[in-house]
C-alpha cells in the first residue's frame, strides 16, 4: 500500500544526443495504476527510469511521504518490467525469477509465481530459448517476486504480437490490481484497458492528467485528442458543422463547463477553434443527421468497419457495422455531449 509521488525536473544528456529536459510531476495513489501515455521520444521511459533511480536528477521522489530521491535503485523496493525483458541470459528462468529474493525479507516463491503466470514448465529453460510472451511473463514474475512496493513497467507489451499482447494485458490487469504501478506506453488501447489514471506526456512534460474517461473523452488539446484516437475537427475548415453548432449548442457547447460556444473559441485567441469527437461517437446514416459527407475508404476491423469520410475540408473517421459504399454520400450525426472543444 504505497503512495508514490515524483516531481522530476532535470535535463538529461546522452552520448551523441541533444539534451532532453523532463519536467513532470507524477502522483500515484496506493494500489492505483497510473499510465504515462505519450508518443515515442516524449520522455516517458526517461521519467520511469528516473523514478526507479537509474539516473541522477533534480526534484523529489517520495514513497508514502518519505523522500527516496537519494536512495540507489536497490534500496527503493521497486520492481521493474522492461520492454525488451532484460532477462539475465546466463541464468535459467527460475534463477532469473529468484534473482532479487536474497535481498528482500519476504520474497515470493519463484515456482509459485511462474505457475500463476502460466509458465511453470519453463523454470529450467534459458531465456534465449523463450518466445517474447514467455520472456515477458518471466520478467513480470521476477519483478513480482521481490514483493515490490511499486511496480514500474516500461512498454511491456510493445514487442509482442497481437494475440500474446492481449493475453498478457488481461493478466496484467489482474496482477496490477493490488499494487501501486506506473505503466509507460504509447498504446492508447492498453492505456485505456489498464489505467486508473492517465498522464499524457509530450516533449518531457505532462500535458494532461485525469481518468481514462477524462483523457479520451475530453482531451485538452488537439495533440492529446489525436494521440488518443479522437477526430480533431478544425471548425474554420468545416463551415457546415460550424453552422450546425451555431444553431444548436450555443449555450452549452463547451463540455468543460465554461459555457463558451466552441465557434467563438478563437474570439480571444489567434488559434483556430477545434472540436474533438471519438470515432465511435459519430453516427452514420441518420436521416436527421447534422451534415452530409463522402465515404472515402472503408477498412474492415475485427467486428466493425472503420470508415473514412470527408466533408468541407475535413476528414473524419467513424465506425459502422454495416459500412456504406465508397464514394457515396452519407449523413453524419455528432452527438452534442460527445463533442469537446480543445
Amino acid at each position: 500500500m504505497t503512495r508514490l509521488t515524483a516531481d522530476i525536473r532535470s535535463t538529461f544528456t546522452a552520448d551523441g544526443a541533444e539534451p532532453f529536459t523532463v519536467d513532470a510531476a507524477v502522483e500515484v495513489e496506493a494500489n492505483e495504476t497510473c499510465v504515462v501515455l505519450g508518443p515515442s521520444g516524449s520522455g516517458k521511459t526517461l521519467l520511469l527510469e528516473t523514478i526507479a533511480g537509474f539516473h541522477e536528477h533534480t526534484g523529489e521522489v517520495t514513497a508514502n511521504g518519505t523522500g527516496i530521491t537519494e536512495r540507489p535503485p536497490e534500496e527503493r523496493g521497486f520492481g521493474f518490467v522492461f520492454q525488451d525483458y532484460a532477462l539475465f541470459p546466463h541464468m535459467t528462468v527460475r534463477e532469473n525469477v529468484r534473482y532479487g529474493n536474497r535481498y528482500r525479507d519476504s520474497p515470493r516463491d519463484p515456482d509459485e509465481l511462474l505457475s500463476e503466470l502460466g509458465v511453470a514448465d519453463l523454470a529450467a529453460r534459458n531465456p534465449p530459448t523463450l518466445s517474447g510472451g514467455e520472456k515477458q511473463r518471466v520478467a513480470l514474475a521476477r519483478a513480482l517476486a521481490v514483493r515490490p512496493s511499486v511496480m514500474l513497467l516500461d512498454e511491456p507489451l510493445a514487442a509482442l504480437d497481437v494475440p500474446t499482447r492481449q493475453s498478457l494485458r488481461d493478466d496484467l490487469v489482474d496482477v496490477l490490481a493490488d499494487v501501486t504501478a506506473v505503466y509507460v506506453t504509447h498504446n492508447r488501447t492498453t492505456a485505456r484497458a489498464i489505467a486508473d489514471r492517465i498522464l499524457v506526456m509530450q516533449d518531457g512534460q505532462i500535458v494532461q492528467r485525469g481518468t481514462p474517461e477524462d483523457v479520451f473523452e475530453r482531451p485538452e488539446s488537439p495533440m492529446v485528442a489525436r494521440f488518443t484516437g479522437s477526430n480533431v475537427i478544425d471548425l474554420s475548415a468545416a463551415p457546415s458543422l460550424r453552422r450546425t453548432l451555431d444553431d444548436e449548442i450555443e449555450p452549452r457547447a463547451r463540455s468543460d463547463g465554461s459555457g463558451r460556444n466552441p465557434v467563438d473559441h478563437d474570439s480571444d485567441t489567434d488559434t483556430a477553434p477545434h472540436v474533438a469527437i471519438r470515432p465511435e461517437a459519430i453516427t452514420l446514416g441518420d436521416p436527421d443527421g447534422d451534415l452530409s459527407a463522402t465515404v472515402e475508404r472503408v477498412v474492415r476491423e475485427d467486428a466493425t468497419n472503420r470508415v473514412t469520410l470527408t466533408f468541407d475540408d475535413v476528414t473524419v473517421e467513424a465506425f459502422a457495422a454495416s459500412p456504406p459504399a465508397v464514394d457515396t454520400e452519407v449523413t453524419l450525426s455528432f452527438p452534442r455531449g460527445r463533442l469537446h472543444v480543445c
Binding site: 521493474f80 525488451d84 534463477e95 534473482y99 532479487g100
Partner: protein, 325 residues
C-alpha cells in the same frame, strides 16, 4: 541455369568439415611435393590458383573469386615462411634443444612471465575497462593513454619504463632493471591495451538494462558486477588475457631494455635460476649460433605457444553460460 551469384556447390549438403579437411590435405601434399623437389615457389602459385578454383567451385561469383584470390596472396606471405621454417628444421637439433635444461628454463620463463603480465593487465585492466564502457568525463584522454603502447616502439617503451620506475623514477624502492618484476612490468606495459580493450568491448556489448534489472531488484553495484556484468563479460576478459599473454610472449624490445636477463624461482629445479625471456634468448642464439640453432629454439617456443593458445581457445569456445546466479 546457374547465375553469376548462384552457389555452385551447396556446402550444407556436402558438409563443411570434409571440404576443409580435403583442402588442408591438398595444401599439405602440394607443399610437400613442391618442397621435396626444391621448388617451394611452385607451392606459392598453387595456393593462389587452388584458392581461386575452390572459390569458383563453391560460390561462382566473380567478387568472391577476386577477394579469395587477393586474400590468398596475404596467406602466402604469412604462411609460406612458417611452413618453410617448420620444414627446414633439423629434427636432431630440435630434440637436442628440447632436452637442454637451459632451454627448459627459457621456455618456462617465456610462458610464466607473460602469464604474470597478463594477470597484472587483467587485474587493473578489467576495472578500467568497466569504467571506460560506462563512460566518464575525459574518457578520450584515458583511452589514448591506454592505446599509447600500441604505437610506441617497444624499445622506447622499455626506456620509458626505466625513466618511470627505474633508478630515480617514481618508486625508487622498486627494482626493475634486470629483475623479474621489471620484466613483467615491461610486458604488461605493451600488452595491457589488449586486455583493456577486449574487456571493454565485452562490457559494452552488455545491455545496460541488465544492470538496471539487477539493481532495481535489490543487488548493489558490487553484487551486480559479481552476478551479472562479470559473468557476461568473462569471455571477453579471457580473450583479453590470452591476447595480452600472447603479446607478452612475443615481446622483445621492452624486455631487452628493462630486463635482459632475470633471476626467478624455477620449480623444476627447486631453486632460483637465471634466464632470458625467450625472444631475447632466440635473438642471442641467432647472433652466436646462427640461423639453424636459433631456429630450433624458436620452433620449440612456437610449438609451446601454439599449444597453450589452442588449449585456451578450446576451453573458452563454448556458449555464454557459466555465470554465477
Amino acid at each position: 541455369m546457374a547465375t553469376g551469384t548462384e552457389r555452385r556447390i551447396e556446402i550444407t549438403a556436402v558438409g563443411r568439415m570434409p571440404l576443409v579437411v580435403a583442402f588442408v590435405v591438398g595444401q599439405a601434399l602440394a607443399f610437400a611435393a613442391a618442397y621435396s623437389v626444391g621448388r617451394p615457389t611452385w607451392y606459392a602459385y598453387f595456393v593462389v590458383g587452388s584458392t581461386a578454383v575452390t572459390a569458383y567451385v563453391l560460390d561462382g561469383s566473380s567478387f568472391t573469386v577476386a577477394t579469395a584470390t587477393a586474400g590468398s596472396l596475404l596467406a602466402v606471405a604469412l604462411g609460406l615462411p612458417l611452413f618453410m621454417f617448420v620444414a627446414r628444421q633439423t629434427p636432431s637439433l630440435v630434440v637436442e634443444k628440447a632436452l637442454d635444461p637451459s632451454v627448459h628454463r627459457v621456455l618456462y620463463l617465456g610462458v610464466y612471465g607473460p602469464l604474470l603480465a597478463a594477470l597484472l593487465s587483467l587485474s587493473f585492466g578489467v576495472p578500467l575497462a568497466h569504467l571506460l564502457a560506462s563512460g566518464f568525463p575525459g574518457q578520450p584522454l584515458v583511452e589514448s593513454l591506454v592505446d599509447l603502447p600500441l604505437v610506441v616502439p617497444h624499445s622506447v617503451a622499455g626506456i620509458i619504463i626505466l625513466f618511470g620506475f627505474g633508478k630515480g623514477g617514481a618508486f625508487p624502492q622498486l627494482s626493475v632493471l634486470g629483475t623479474m618484476g621489471g620484466m613483467v612490468l615491461a610486458m604488461a606495459f605493451v600488452s595491457a591495451p589488449y586486455a583493456v580493450n577486449a574487456s571493454r568491448e565485452a562490457f559494452e556489448a552488455i545491455d545496460n538494462r541488465l544492470e538496471y534489472a539487477s539493481r532495481i531488484h535489490g543487488a548493489n553495484e558490487w553484487e551486480t558486477f559479481r552476478r551479472v556484468t562479470g559473468p557476461l563479460a568473462v569471455r571477453g576478459m579471457i580473450t583479453g588475457g590470452v591476447l595480452a599473454w600472447a603479446r607478452a610472449v612475443s615481446e622483445f624490445g621492452a624486455v631487452a631494455v628493462v630486463a635482459y636477463s632475470v633471476e626467478f624461482f624455477y620449480p623444476v629445479a627447486g631453486e632460483t635460476v637465471t634466464a632470458q625471456h625467450a625472444p631475447v634468448f632466440v635473438y642471442n642464439t641467432y647472433l652466436q649460433g646462427g640461423l639453424e640453432e636459433s631456429g630450433a629454439v624458436a620452433f620449440l617456443l612456437l610449438a609451446v605457444s601454439a599449444v597453450i593458445f589452442l588449449i585456451v581457445r578450446y576451453l573458452t569456445d563454448d556458449d555464454t553460460r557459466g555465470g554465477t546466479p
